[in-house]
């Protein structure tokens, strides 16, 4: 793992008698949830629930005496939609009057609670086992097909009685969360002492409070409600792809079912600050589903001559067919993500008793959904632009959410992002549920954070507070421009010098770094051939960074042997290739240092030494630079240093 910014004093030794608390990470999306636990080695791992699912559908369904929670509840959307509840997470903290009523209803509708003013609720029909009354909001019900709620009763009973049950949104959320934590406990074989739960950045205070209350009601001790972008980036901090710098700019792309969330983050030795975020509830898996459902409906009609109109469907029979396709394509999409070949979609009795089997390969699929990809890319572009950034400034893309598992989306990103950008697809960490797997990254990040929190000693209450929303410690200042070194260099005759800098540029503290901050760099210095004058010297500058855009004519393509030329060629020749390159310009000289080397060694006729330089930018913005010579791995005496005054505060 990457070392934190600066060092942490060793935590007090935990008494060995008390075992570490059992903590988990929970990703509670509107569509799917997942759970991660910590391994003995301290790594986070997403677990499968008792149904063998890692992506646990956020659905609760009542059918007769049975209650289904999770993936088994989803098929109920076809024939038992009235008693099947979905999309309940996004309603947390909302009053009934705040919920839009114009949405198409494909599941149990949200109603005004009969007794509680302005409280959203659901009404479902159940069969009440007689004579035992059903426990109020039956929190003990577990997800399982073959365990009716009251089957434990050995005594023969009379026929169950049809009844109606009202559940508030809060109760449904509690019921679902309870089932999640039960799965974790079944897996671990012990009770869970605390959990970090991921929340969307746009969740307001009401939603957060409602989620926390629902979790507490489910018996979960909430250690922290963690922003989704923070959870995802923590995974990157713990296990960065090889070649990624400890200081980097990362773009988090979260595409779930019902929305797109983007964040531009500055990561500085594990310290993460948010540069810009955006949220668009009109782009997501939903749009992809529509295209895919329409595609297969068309196929169905073509093959079977049975008319089928979907997305939107008006006819009840078509509606049911659409619901069936919607469930079936979950499998199709996962297959498409996993392999480029043909992915099938099969539905028994899709319409009028006619079965359907269709298939689509990745290339065709990507074509069908390219407008959705394009929307995501352009939203990313806009967000970067709003923060005065462009794709060139992004070192890493972190994908989050089921829809971000689609390789075609990554390919679309790579068209406009520089070759140097690291993505989990280019790093090969998506395959086989690897580090970069977008469907498990949130739960894993939450588990890692739960571990960090559980290791803070109980008495450090102030420090624990610093992880709550609205605490005073998250507001920090950041450097607005990069600070670095210039190693002056003899201009080489005839050859072009490196820009106007007059020497070699080495970044010290990159812009967007939160302060106070310390950074220590080490490198080798060439001191030349001469025996005397073995001097190390450099200037410290604050610089202005920009982007140089150059247009080139593409190299002329040789004509074909037959000398034929089609009309298109003429146009292509006109088109210019654009290259973009980062630039650095000197702006403010902060200081300049030099010292005579005492430990240089001669290599192939040239003197060389290792130099270590420490930059500290104080809370007030003062900069202190110190330089040492390092010989045989040991730091020598402080050679030189200087300190600048703090900048004005306004």
């Amino acid at each position: 793992m990457a070392l934190p910014n600066g060092t942490v004093p060793e935590p007090p030794v935990q008494p060995t008698t008390k075992s570490a608390p059992t903590v988990v990470g929970i990703n509670f999306g509107n569509t799917y949830a997942s759970i991660a636990v910590l391994t003995k080695e301290g790594l986070a791992e997403c677990i499968a629930n008792e149904d063998g699912e890692r992506q646990i559908a956020c659905a609760v369904s009542f059918h007769g005496e049975e209650t289904y929670i999770g993936n088994q509840a989803k098929p109920q959307l076809v024939k038992n939609a009235q008693n099947t509840i979905i999309n309940f997470r996004n309603l947390l903290g909302k009053k009934f009057s705040e919920i839009p009523k114009d949405q198409p209803v494909t599941s149990a509708p949200v109603i005004q609670h009969p007794d509680q003013p302005d409280v959203p609720a659901y009404k479902v029909s159940i069969l009440q086992p007689a004579p035992t009354p059903i426990p109020t909001p039956s929190l003990s019900v577990r997800s399982s097909t073959n365990t009716p709620a009251a089957s434990a009763l050995a005594t023969p009973r009379s026929e169950p009685i049809p009844a109606e049950r009202i559940l508030t949104v809060a109760e449904v959320n509690t019921m679902f969360l309870k089932s999640l934590v039960q799965s974790a406990q079944d897996f671990l074989g012990r009770s869970v002492d605390g959990a970090v739960i991921a929340v969307p950045t746009e969740f307001d205070d009401n939603a957060r409070a409602a989620l926390e209350a629902a979790a507490e009601d489910a018996g979960i001790k909430v250690l922290q409600l963690l922003d989704e972008a923070a959870a995802a980036s923590l995974v990157s901090v713990y296990g960065p792809s090889e070649g990624l710098h400890l200081d980097r700019t990362s773009l988090v792309v979260d595409v779930g079912q019902s929305s797109l969330s983007l964040s531009v983050l500055s990561i500085r030795h594990g310290l993460i600050s948010s540069i810009a975020t955006s949220h668009d509830p009109t782009v997501g898996g939903e749009q992809i589903d529509e295209k895919l459902i329409k595609f297969f409906a068309k196929e169905f009609t073509k093959k079977t001559k049975t008319p089928l109109t979907v997305c939107p469907a008006t006819d009840p029979v078509d509606k049911r067919a659409e619901a069936k396709l919607r469930i079936a394509i979950e499998h199709t999409k996962r297959t498409l993500s996993a392999s480029p070949g043909a992915a099938t979609c099969s539905v028994e009795s899709l319409k009028d008793g006619v079965d359907f089997t269709g298939s689509i390969n990745r290339m065709r699929f990507d074509m069908e959904v390219r407008t959705v990809y394009a929307k995501i890319i352009s939203a990313a572009h806009d967000l970067l632009a709003s923060a005065d950034h462009e794709p060139l400034h992004v070192d890493e893309i972190i994908y989050v959410g089921g829809t971000a598992s689609l390789p075609g989306l990554d390919e679309s990103f790579l068209v406009i992002f520089p070759d140097s950008v690291m993505t989990p697809f280019t790093a090969g960490t998506v395959v086989g549920g690897g580090e970069g797997d977008p469907t498990t990254i949130l739960a894993r990040g939450c588990a890692l954070q739960a571990k960090v929190l559980s290791e803070i000693p109980e008495e450090e209450t102030k420090i624990k507070e610093a992880f709550k929303k609205g605490n005073g410690y998250t507001k920090e200042s950041t450097a607005t421009k990069s600070i670095g070194l210039i190693f002056p260099e003899e201009p080489v005759d005839g050859a072009e010098t490196k820009g106007d800098l007059g020497g070699q540029w080495v970044v010290g503290v990159p812009k967007d770094t939160p302060v106070p901050y310390r950074r220590v760099i080490q490198f080798e210095a060439d001191l030349g051939e001469s025996e005397e004058n073995k001097k190390v010297g450099f200037e410290v500058w604050e610089v202005k960074e920009g982007v140089k855009v150059e247009k080139h004519k593409p190299p002329k393509v040789e004509d074909d042997d037959d000398g034929e030329k089609d009309a298109d060629d003429e146009e292509e020749e006109e088109e210019e290739i654009e290259t973009r390159e980062k630039t650095v310009e000197k702006e403010t000289l902060l200081g300049s240092l030099s010292f005579t080397s005492l430990h240089a060694t001669k290599e192939k006729g040239r003197w060389k030494t290792r130099v270590e330089i420490q930059f500290i930018v104080g809370r007030d913005g003062h900069v202190s630079v110190k330089a040492w010579e390092v010989s045989r791995g040991k730091k020598g005496e402080l050679a030189v240093d200087f300190r600048t005054p703090a900048p004005p505060t306004h």
Binding site: A2, K475, T478
Partner: protein, 61 residues
């Protein structure tokens, strides 16, 4: 100890006539406000330093 970044780099020898530039006692540009994400060991270390009023050097000791 602070983590040291090893840069794969060889800086060039100084020009013969180079001498350190006169320090101008200038400061860096005005800082701007950002929001830190309360996550991970680095944030914890940051908060510990703030709460206990410690410097980086204090952390080393």
């Amino acid at each position: 100890m602070a983590s040291v970044i090893h840069l794969p780099l060889l800086t060039p020898p100084l020009p013969k006539d180079w001498s350190p530039l006169e320090s101008s006692a200038k400061s860096i540009s005005k800082l701007s406000q950002r929001v830190l994400l309360p996550v991970g060991p680095a944030y914890l270390a940051h908060v510990r330093r703030t709460v206990n009023n410690r410097t980086f050097e204090d952390d080393d000791r």
